[in-house]
Symmetry: C2
Subunit: 680 residues, 2 copies
Amino acid sequence: MANDPLVVFTPSGKRGRFPVGTPILTAARQLGVDLDSVCGGRGICSKCQITPSYGEFPKHGVTAAADALSDWNAVEERYKSKRGMIEGRRLGCQAQVRGDVVIDVPPESQVHKQVVRKRAEAREIVMNPAVKLFYVEVVEPDMHDPSGDLERLRGALADQWQLSDLQIDLTTLQSLQPALRKGGWKVTCAVHLGSRAYRPRIMQVWPGFHDASIYGLAVDLGSTTIAAHLCDLQSGDVVASSGIMNPQIRYGEDLMSRVSYSMMNKGGADEMTAAVRAGMNALFDQIAGEAEIAKTDILDAVFVCNPVMHHLFLGIDPFELGQAPFALATSDSLNLTAAELDLQLHPSARVYLLPCIAGHVGADAAAVALSEAPEKSDDLVLVVDVGTNAELLLGNRDKVLACSSPTGPAFEGAQISSGQRAAPGAIERVEIDPVTKDPRFKVIGSDLWSTEDGFAEAIATTGITGICGSGIIEMVAEMRLAGILDGPGLIGSPAQTGTDRCILDGRTYSYLVWDGTADGGPRITVTNRDIREIQMAKAALYSGARLLMDKFGVDKVDRIVLAGAFGAHISPKHAMVLGMIPDAPLDKVTSAGNAAGTGARIALLNQSAREEIEATVRAIHKVETAIEPRFQEHFVNASNIPNAVEPFPILNSIVTLPEVNFNQGSGDTEGGGRRRRRRG
Amino acid sequence: MANDPLVVFTPSGKRGRFPVGTPILTAARQLGVDLDSVCGGRGICSKCQITPSYGEFPKHGVTAAADALSDWNAVEERYKSKRGMIEGRRLGCQAQVRGDVVIDVPPESQVHKQVVRKRAEAREIVMNPAVKLFYVEVVEPDMHDPSGDLERLRGALADQWQLSDLQIDLTTLQSLQPALRKGGWKVTCAVHLGSRAYRPRIMQVWPGFHDASIYGLAVDLGSTTIAAHLCDLQSGDVVASSGIMNPQIRYGEDLMSRVSYSMMNKGGADEMTAAVRAGMNALFDQIAGEAEIAKTDILDAVFVCNPVMHHLFLGIDPFELGQAPFALATSDSLNLTAAELDLQLHPSARVYLLPCIAGHVGADAAAVALSEAPEKSDDLVLVVDVGTNAELLLGNRDKVLACSSPTGPAFEGAQISSGQRAAPGAIERVEIDPVTKDPRFKVIGSDLWSTEDGFAEAIATTGITGICGSGIIEMVAEMRLAGILDGPGLIGSPAQTGTDRCILDGRTYSYLVWDGTADGGPRITVTNRDIREIQMAKAALYSGARLLMDKFGVDKVDRIVLAGAFGAHISPKHAMVLGMIPDAPLDKVTSAGNAAGTGARIALLNQSAREEIEATVRAIHKVETAIEPRFQEHFVNASNIPNAVEPFPILNSIVTLPEVNFNQGSGDTEGGGRRRRRRG
């Protein structure tokens, strides 16, 4: 009615007139304001806390009197004395409208609240989990009207929460009757809200009001490590994060050696499946222990992984992924139970696996796409997830293309003479003086350059043990910038380079970085074979990107996102000197950290994001590098440092690349035209 | 087109004109004629066999020339030479229309064929199983268009069979890739077509054309026995039937003693659950062995049972069923996996449990309703499933009422001094000469009356061991007819009855049926205590029926169906003399045999019957005898033989009941006004 008090909600701006005596929660629901409640307005859950504002609000055209809401009632007093409440807050289900008022819904009272992400450019995460809690009061059984307890519980959930057609697992049904009676016909249900693939389902019934959190897991199942975030499904908070080595490592460091293991050993695939599932359960024990919760409070889980891990985790022999045409058993997303995967979580816990994009572009790449949302980007973005197999996405609002490229393990320090995993003692930053050709470097564990005072003391415990992936990229780029290395990839002689650090090593030269042998340490050099490995890896990565650019019909990209833990440590300038990524303004090359893990977290916290990424993946155009003739041509050109044909104008405006060529006797170079590495 | 040949299908009468060259299968599909095919018209499965007719068909207005169909082709020749074909048959997918023709679709070529039932009045069973086979040809994987094998299989099932949105179990997915390749991208899928509760699902993928049957189980899980029919899901044939004792018997003969066991023993319910499931698996081993099939070829199963067995089978503590208000954990139908119930069938096998009608009227009663279909009856039918707990249904097209009544085990021969289960040697038929008061009888195992020549020889191996349930009913009724027993239920003295067979036995008399002691056999008598037990049992049953008649507003029923194995052996006349069932014409009292088992079979073979019985059960009005004041009154009246107040006019037109009263000293009788038995 026109004379009823006006209620204005912020931040939504929704407004409406309500009769005196209307609870704020009721008003919010009628207006579609996002105000949470688990207990349905019974003053139990306190999820509907709001902040009324009084005074003049010219912006809203409202003057709110001090008595615009009903007085504090007993329910609110009791709640406040027991649990405490932030000053100025009220319970939305108890406070009733008396006059015009402005009501702020704080973020923690919103169902669909945003979860804060540190990166400004990253997509927001809006809470919309698949599993939610609902408190209901159930009709007692009656001899005059025989009906099952489940049917009356369903009726209550339909009447009080508009949840219809709910299924229930047998294990949940088995404990239903005692829970209803213990709770005096008042219970809290965890309900999985269902999806395209399965119907809504009652997962757990607690007697009375269940005043505790429920949890979900976002798991990034990598070839090397398994990392998990344990998230509160109501707040969206990450309450614990943990990781373990993938126990499959004992069957082979890289994916193809695991595929081979399964081919050569009867039951090998089953062994690896058992190993990764056991590892997963160990990780879940660990993470639940850290968070001090029971594993049975974990009701939902989202997994992302590459195709081979996907199959091995599911118990599908990865045989077909080891040979053309690299057919996946299934590429669609999967909705499973934790029990089917031998995962020891809540007995009704559900598991969601993101879809795979193609035989070489897995659910992990889909998760990167979900996190970085190239399909929502106004400018053209290249997303590169760097690993032993690089996955690349190129796109904007018009379309998104994807491919994978077999970079091999060189970027992880493998197959490099002094290479190592990123660990204390590893060289991670490098500068080479263009005049003296001497290097200075930093090792993991110290912030000092090797030329600074106190460096020796700072690294006393770790020593200098080798060069990690990001270190080798800087090293090779700096060697190129200092004129120690030529475009085709050859290290010059002492005469050609003017430094004795270039030493003959068989038929080629190596560059001496550090000689720790006097102190019993290693002698760290970069050999010409190391250069070749890096050339092949970066050429594979670049030619994948270039191929996507061809298909998109562009010669440059607006920005580049480096995903993956490794991507976070790469220096954009050095990557560009290497010709590993396309030419771009340095400030447009950013790191997304573990975007696959973030994508898993988004899918865990927001069920509609699952449908969204499924649609995105269906729309992504997959490019298979192996059957693209131009890929080979790009690869040959990209073997040069930075590139035999691409101009890299932005890079050239920042750095000057010495025009050197150490192999003047030959028209060809050793670096170019190499056979392409076996996929891996 | 008007000039195209006319094709008339029988028995459907559907007709249409089709261009020359149209395969008969195609014509049938376009007209919606029920013609089966598993291979989709590829000449592999032979399910589409039809019988063309040639000549004049004035009835159809068709003259079919001898060349109305295309000549036999190579596919048909090959099939006939390999497998043989009935003379005059053609393959519908191969034979093409050339001229006007009449095509008969024999029953075995119809998908929705009727399964023959012996009883004329019984509802027909139309084949419409939940699981069907579909042969498909799948597109091979291609590097240019990466997609999962499952997605291409789904595409083939959608294109070739209009089956969309198919789910798949993980176990099935795990074996998908080898099956597709072994079959050269041609496979046969078993597909569960889904239901309200769960989505359609690929259950199994066989390489190539799967030329074998798939099976389902219809299981009647009784308190005493578990009986199963193994059915071919394509033909509907029962290929094996088998039964075992319910292993829970060791925890208590009757249901209430099992409920007590679970109350008194921690983990008792779980023990009983494990026992019945183990028994079930043993039964399945037995039945699969009999049929010489693998248990993994069993893809679907339907269970019917009373509420206590329902809960114990599901692993739900039956505690609540032991006390008012007798609340079921769930009354709705259940769609589960065999694996959830620890049943060793196909790894993806599905299980359906019919809904329960109320806390005392279980899924077995629902199955009886499905078999006897009172809701489709034009006349008013009373369906009585006789057991230790009798379930009664009364209804017609207008409405159906249901109740249960605690008859106790007397009708099964228990608690009767000479009672025994129906087995060779048990007296099952009785006549008492109204003049001599001597009995003659038949025992199970012989067709001779005890007074006939050769009787002694015929029973030499079995002896005469006791009286079974149907025998005791006839015995008591005959005693009443012969004037040995009075209406209130007292056996007369030798003086009152004129026979020395009435012998003093404590404070009352017993009637001597047979004295085998001279030959080391038993002395078989009917004691007055036996009469009391029968009075209570029959009074419980009658008063349930009478209560339903009250609620329906009628004084008589049009017909009575006795369900249950025991019901098949009851003599309608004797049951009516006893006053166990309402007065009705004798030819309107029929036996339905194991109607619960038949209901299970209907639900197995026809998926839409499941939805039908769910709707019927929702519509059935449940009457709880325990809270109906008139039940007690009816019970007291019904303790009289046949009844203290009901006139039984039809019965009285057939028999003359002697007006005797042996307790002339007392105004009351011992038979009436007894305490009602504890529910069981």
